[in-house]
């Protein structure tokens, strides 16, 4: 067994350090080492988007990032989306619009949608579809997910105004 590497990183704003094997992916480190199991594994080869997290301001599939690459990075996961007891407007909209069925893809969709709205506060339907094409959902046919993102965008704009 390879000896473990010490990694210092920031996860959802919290300075975090952990030990991992060099061959462990960031997804494994989040789930198995840090027990942040909100980030899901659907394929382990970067094709389903269930393990999507934000790393230094960019969306990544955490199954394709090695744990040691998180050294010095800022990581954001689904666990950091709500502010305390307050759900993010996207989380609230996903619930109100029934945008999840089994819920396994939901963390990835929330992380990706949050970044979309940070970059483009009023995306069109087509812009949402293009942005979320990295995330597979097999239950909903995407319709209600698109509506939830649109609803959250509208609500966030109203709060700002």
């Amino acid at each position: 067994m390879a000896s473990k590497v010490r990694v210092e990183t920031t996860i959802n704003g919290e300075p975090t350090e952990f030990l991992c094997e060099p061959r462990q992916s960031l997804l494994e480190c989040l789930r198995d080492v840090l027990h942040l199991t909100g980030t899901k594994e659907g394929c382990n080869d970067g094709n389903c988007g269930a393990c999507t997290v934000v790393m230094n301001g960019a969306l990544v599939t955490s199954c394709l990032v090695l744990g040691p690459e998180a050294q010095g990075a800022r990581i954001e996961t689904v666990e950091g989306i709500a502010k305390g007891n307050q759900l993010h407007p996207l989380q609230q909209a996903f619930l109100e619009e029934a945008a999840l069925q089994c819920g396994i893809c939901t963390p990835g969709f929330l992380v990706a949608s949050k970044m979309l709205l940070e970059k483009n506060a009023q995306p069109t339907e087509q812009e949402i579809r293009l942005w979320l094409a990295n995330n597979l959902c097999r239950c909903t046919g995407y319709d209600k997910i698109i509506r939830a993102v649109q609803k959250a965008a509208t609500q966030m704009a109203e709060v700002k105004a």
Binding site: M1, E21, R23, Q24, R31, H35, L36, T37, G38, T39, K40, E41, G42, C43, N44, D45, N47, C48, A50, T77, V78, E79, I81, A82, L87, Q91, F94, L95, E96, E97, A98, L100, Q101, C102, G103, I104, C105, T106, P107, L110, E125, I128, R129, L130, L132, A133, N134, N135, L136, C137, R138, C139, T140, G141, Y142, D143, K144, I145, I146
Partner: protein, 746 residues
């Protein structure tokens, strides 16, 4: 006008906060003290004899705690077992868990390893040396049925029209449904269309891979945590395979990340249990995506011939179907349901249907949302469209003239009670979509309808009343798409409570009565009925408590309406009576068990507008409408969600998805990049029209909506492609290369 206060509303699901915050615990999320991680060694061959397995190098690797093969499975002989979907030989269930003697498909499990980490376990699995004698493989129903084809099982004897032939064959069964006089019927027909269709193997494609954790405790009890559609089926199957009594197995269903029928069989659970027994530690097994494709239960590929005859007035007078479905490695291809559904939407007096269940060297197939029906409907709906064209009749009009209705007899026997086929067709005809014109060249519109019979099966439920006026509801149906809420809402309606005041919990197999799988569109129907009945039991007991509280005669009639119990001039609110439980006899607990007979089948329809690129053959779905008879939509948002999800799976099946097999039986596209399921970018919004023709067999009229919606899309798309570019597609998927070939050979 709705008379309901909860049914038909759209409350937020009870497990919602957990699922948008990442807190919901799915099977892979489970952590236990001392947990070991496992790996499975799988066959690299589609068909081979196992000569020798040497596990010594694997066992010697540091960190490895246990290695198992089929030799570690108890050999309790063979017998027929019924796990809720008909009888299956135990040897087939056991053989699929760990191969004995032969491997029958690439990906077939051969050995399992438990180690201190998943990486070590994987490394160890690769150190297991298996000597194989590779055998020829058969990959399609026609090739497996051919004379002289390689046989998968020496002991599989073909059953021919109910008789055991004693003849070894890859055809496990040939059955026939015959009604009326098909030859005479075709003789009356002015138009006869007969076509042959092929459909590829496709996968349910749930995003969560299978997982199982097991602890074989020192007292002999086996505990299992897993992702399953049916905790009791896992319990019973695991007990059979391990040859222990069902009472010794406890299954805790974790949250489940999609199933669609594919998470009913056991794959990992018995292996994890054996590894736990050997190591004395809990063991977790996870499948990779490739394992999911290669070693779980996709839906059958099929070879189908459909012939229909109609009079010039547009009356279908005769139908003939030949259905050969690929079961995969073990019998059970869902050709039975395919035969039940192939002409189920039509009132045709003369029908003959021949079904063949054929084993091939591909993974053993499982259910997939209306299993068997989509393949069949693709064929029938294509032929019906062709007849409509030949007769010059609107395709919906032709379907309306022949639609199944109350009293129509299906060729497999049953006569329909009240069904909603006509109402679905009328909703399609009256839809904004059907009335809107197409807008450009190479565009076409197709329609199709489909049927799924739905199932009942047992469910149990208890409801305990809390002093604060809420109730807790305990049920055993794993919640894949919001059924905690659709079940709780039915109890809430009876109790006069808002949905939020009913707290539903899905529990393990030690904590509730036997409850069959979440499948067959049965959960909101059957477990919902159990919740309804348990709530009625609560109301009955609460009335007794009111009389006790008032010190009135126990025979006095009590009214319960709008949250108030009344008898004569006495009245007490639900909330207040809830605080009086201790002094009127202790906690009130309602219970119910059901095995409902009044199952209501569901019809669905699809309208698809497509544009076909004549240069590349790519089909773009421009507009899509799904119509379905829900009976009664308990939570309309989740009914729409089922319709949209089923439609999009049907679109994927129709246009992209297939097991692309090499001649040696290797799936060439076993990743989610190459097995191309629809993304958000591939689709339009999916419009929905919920039709409600109440099912007389359910207190609120529920039929169940999980499945029928996947049945029509491939047929609707095929018809749309024809109306766009004039080619009749006779195989699935209708991928760009297939469409181009059809255009070139026009």
């Amino acid at each position: 006008m709705s008379t309901y206060s909860v049914i038909g509303t759209r409350p937020i699901r009870h497990d919602g906060a957990d699922k948008v915050t990442g807190r919901a615990l799915y099977g892979a999320d489970l952590q236990l003290a001392g947990l070991l991680h496992g790996a499975i060694l799988r066959s690299p061959h589609a068909h081979a004899r196992i000569i020798k397995i040497d596990t010594s190098k694997a066992a010697a690797l540091p960190g490895v705690r246990a290695v198992v093969t089929a030799d570690d499975l108890p050999d309790s002989g063979d017998r027929m077992v019924d796990l809720g979907e008909g009888e299956t030989p135990l040897s087939f269930i056991r053989g699929n868990v760990l191969a004995k003697g032969k491997v029958l498909y690439r990906g077939h499990a051969v050995a399992g390893v438990a180690a201190v980490s998943a990486h070590v376990a994987e490394q160890a699995a690769n150190l297991i040396q298996v000597e194989y004698e590779v055998l020829p493989c058969v990959l399609t129903a026609p090739s497996a049925m051919a004379d002289g084809a390689t046989l998968l099982h020496d002991n599989l004897m073909m059953k021919e029209l109910g008789q055991n032939t004693g003849k070894p064959s890859n055809v496990s069964e040939h059955f026939r449904h015959l009604m009326g006089d098909p030859a005479a019927g075709f003789a009356q027909a002015d138009v006869v269309v007969e076509r042959v269709f092929d459909t590829a193997t496709v996968h349910q494609g749930y995003i969560e891979p299978h997982n199982a954790t097991a602890l074989w405790n020192n007292d002999g009890r086996v505990q299992i945590w897993c992702s399953t559609q049916g905790s009791f089926v896992v319990r019973d199957a695991t007990a059979c395979v391990l040859d222990v009594p069902v009472s010794q197995v406890k299954v805790t269903p974790m949250e489940i990340g999609g199933g669609f029928g594919g998470k009913i069989p056991v794959y990992l659970e018995p292996v994890a249990a054996l590894l736990s027994k050997k190591s004395g530690r809990p063991v977790k097994l996870l499948m990779s995506r490739r394992d999911v494709f290669e070693a779980t239960g996709p839906t059958p590929g099929s070879h189908i011939r459909v012939k229909l005859g109609a009079t010039k007035e547009g009356k279908l007078v005769a139908g003939e179907a030949y259905l050969a479905y690929e079961a995969g490695a073990y019998p059970g291809a869902m050709v039975g349901p395919g035969a039940m559904c192939v002409f189920a939407a039509y009132d045709i007096p003369n029908i003959v249907i021949d079904g063949y269940d054929v084993v091939v060297n591909k993974p053993s197939t499982a259910a997939y949302r209306a299993p068997g029906a989509t393949n069949a409907a693709f064929a029938t709906e294509s032929v019906v469209d062709e007849i409509a064209e030949k007769l010059g009749v609107d395709p919906l009009e032709l379907r309306l003239r022949n639609a199944a209705k109350e009293g129509t007899r299906r060729a497999d026997g049953p006569k329909y009670p009240r069904v909603g086929c006509i109402e679905v067709l009328e909703a399609m005809k009256n839809s904004d979509h059907y009335k809107s014109p197409l807008t450009g060249p190479n565009q076409g519109r197709g329609v199709a309808i489909g049927f799924w019979f739905n199932v009942g099966l047992p469910s149990a439920c208890t409801i305990a009343v809390n002093a604060d006026g809420t109730v807790t509801l305990v049920e055993g149906s794993t919640d894949i798409g919001g059924t905690r809420t659709s079940i709780a809402m039915q109890a809430a309606e009876v109790l006069g409570l808002p949905a939020e005041k009913v707290q539903p919990t899905v529990v393990d197999t030690d904590s509730v009565g036997f409850t069959a799988v979440t499948g067959g569109s049965r959960t909101t129907f059957a477990t919902g009925m159990a919740a309804h009945d348990a709530a009625q039991d609560v109301v009955r007991q609460m009335k007794e408590r009111a009389l006790k509280f008032w010190k009135m005669d126990a025979a006095t009639p009590v009214e319960f309406a709008k949250g108030v119990f009344t008898a004569g001039d006495k009245s007490i609110t639900w909330n207040e009576l809830c605080t009086k439980q201790a002094r009127t006899g202790g906690p009130v607990v309602g219970r119910a068990s059901v095995n409902p007979r009044g199952v209501g089948g569901s019809f669905a329809g699809a309208i698809a507008d497509v544009e076909v690129d004549p240069e590349t053959g790519k089909v773009t779905v421009l507009r899509f409408t799904s119509v379905q008879d829900a009976g009664k939509a308990i939570h309309p948002s989740y009914v729409e969600g089922q319709m949209q999800g089923g439609s999009v799976q049907g679109i994927g099946w129709g246009l992209n998805e297939e097991y692309y097999m090499s001649p040696d039986g290797t799936m060439m596209n076993s990743s989610l990049l190459d097995y191309r399921m629809p993304t958000a970018l591939d689709l339009p919004m999916i419009e929905t029209i919920i039709v409600e023709v109440p099912n007389p067999g359910h207190p609120f009229g529920v039929r169940g909506v999980g499945e029928a919606n996947i049945v029509p899309p491939p047929g609707a798309l095929a018809n749309a492609i024809y109306h766009a570019v004039g080619v009749r597609m006779n195989s699935l998927p209708m991928k760009p290369s297939a469409v181009m070939e059809a255009i070139w050979s026009k």
